[in-house]
Subunit: 317 residues, 2 copies
């Protein structure tokens, strides 16, 4: 596959096309991912999440600068809420993309949070493989972290950063609950405004209530003002220090293997769905079954259990 | 099953226990749901979503009052972000639950957005069946509507209401993108504060850009001040007028059948997962496979495809 070769050489247009193949679930998707697979596993994947307005973009921009100063290649996958009608990503990052348009060491890609066959998590996982195989040292996944889906996306990262800002209200902070549980680094942005220290104390208190962590696990808290570029270098160093710790303690391997497990299971389920469609002739039968369930002639579990038993009897399952 | 009988008689403790059976995915879950199934299909299900601070609770309280004045029984399922550490729901509704504690015609239940085997959507779907079979006329599902998961939860409703407030910022509004697409009723709350009319115009403009709707589909926009109880009665009447329209046009049936389809598919997939676990002896083999994929000895799709072919050859699939 010519595309694979070009991606591994870092060709920008090939990278973009590779991601499109994954997003569109094209026929060549399996071949592409399998072909890229031997070239993956080198990149460090960092997840950044936080409410809109928490300053994620500015923070990511700072990280990009530090990485470029260290001569590292960096890719950003920004997972945006989908547009109400077009289905495309709406927040976009056109401005940021323009800033770095002439630098082949930076690649920023927006992906819509909905509308992919197999889900945004699978699509992001594929995009990560493309960037990884293309030789990017660091891949940032950026999300507005709310809901189970976004938790699944952010769990594709080796290190998870949660961005919070003082004064966003308890409820909005609470929305991040699912993410708080898995964050490795709490970033209190806009540290120059009132309440930053209180927010830090609140996080500390919350962590104290949580389960005990070993040294590699202990979540860090950093006060940063991304706009004023204060605390950002320390943040940058902390990120990579934590990643080193994770590597040494085996936590990184553990996380990556957990992701592989999820991926294998997902592929199996997709294949099983195909088989079920064929064996049960779902296309023709589903409509009839729906009517019967709708009319309360059959009951959902009883019905499915019977169908499965029949397939087994006929040696079709 | 004694529990089923007691639920259909509307026994409060039995209802609570039924929902726990579903939440905990107990062994009796299938029997319970199948047993309740013939008694379902009567309740009207209304989904209310919106940012924290949009005033959903107050609106739901108003709806409860109107329903009780009309002698209707009403249940509320509040889907809350999960607690960082306990895993339970955190926003809770203890206060509201106390207000209505002595009224058997009102049942408010909080459910955490994460932590259920099968997902919050399946758990909510089960809880709806319990309330439906127990004779509740109206069931409200309340969510902070962001992300694919919450879209799936809110799509369990016959009518979807999106609550917005002026001045929450474009980005926060944009977070609702996935919901905007499917909302039947846009509720601009806090209509007494500045910007309510502008927000209404923005929604109208957005709807104009969207796909054309038939009469039953045309989303409504209502300005309400829930706190001052202004516009709430009109909102209440509009909700039920819309539901009547949906019924007459066949849209309600269409939506309910779509939900049945999803449910049948989910049950099939769950059963298939069980079979896969046994046939492939996943418990013993998964660890070995993960190591091989991790070491890049095998490639994910190639590996799964081969395994599936082998099962087929051996007539095990």
């Amino acid at each position: 596959m010519e595309l694979i070769k070009r991606i591994t050489r870092g060709n920008t247009r090939a990278i973009a096309r590779g991601i499109s193949v994954i997003e569109n679930n094209s026929d060549t998707k399996e071949e592409l991912i399998d072909g890229l697979y031997p070239f993956t596993g080198k990149a460090q994947i960092i997840g950044i999440t936080g409410s809109p307005g928490a300053g994620k973009s500015t923070i990511v921009d700072r990280i990009i600068q530090f990485e470029r100063n260290n001569n590292k290649k960096i890719a950003v996958i920004a997972v945006d809420p989908s547009s109400p009608f077009s289905g495309g990503a709406i927040l976009g990052d056109r401005l940021r993309m323009q800033t770095h348009a002439t630098d082949p060491g930076v690649f920023i890609r927006s992906m819509a949070s909905r509308g992919y066959l197999g889900g945004i998590s699978a699509a992001t996982s594929g995009a990560i493989k493309v960037f990884d195989a293309a030789g990017f040292d660091t891949i940032i996944i950026e999300t507005i972290g709310v809901g189970q889906t976004e938790v699944e996306v952010i769990e594709l990262a080796d290190l998870i950063i949660l961005t919070l800002v003082p004064g966003m209200g308890d409820e909005i902070q609470a929305m991040k609950a699912g993410i708080m549980e898995i964050a490795d680094l709490f970033l209190v942005n806009k540290s120059d405004i009132d309440g930053a220290d209180r927010l830090k104390s609140e996080i500390e208190y919350m962590l104290m209530l949580g389960p005990e962590n070993d040294k590699a696990h202990t979540p860090q808290i950093k006060l940063v003002s991304a706009k004023n570029n204060s605390g950002t270098e320390e943040l940058y160093n902390t990120m990579f220090k934590q990643l080193t710790l994770f590597k040494e303690s085996g936590l990184l391997d553990k996380r990556r293997k957990e992701r592989i497990k999820m991926e294998i299971e997902h592929i199996f389920i997709d294949k099983l769905k195909d088989i079920l469609n064929t064996r049960l002739n779902l296309k023709e039968n589903m409509g009839i079954w729906i009517e019967k369930v709708y009319n309360r002639e059959i009951r959902p579990y009883n019905f499915v259990n019977k169908k499965m038993e029949n397939l087994k009897k006929e040696n079709l399952l």
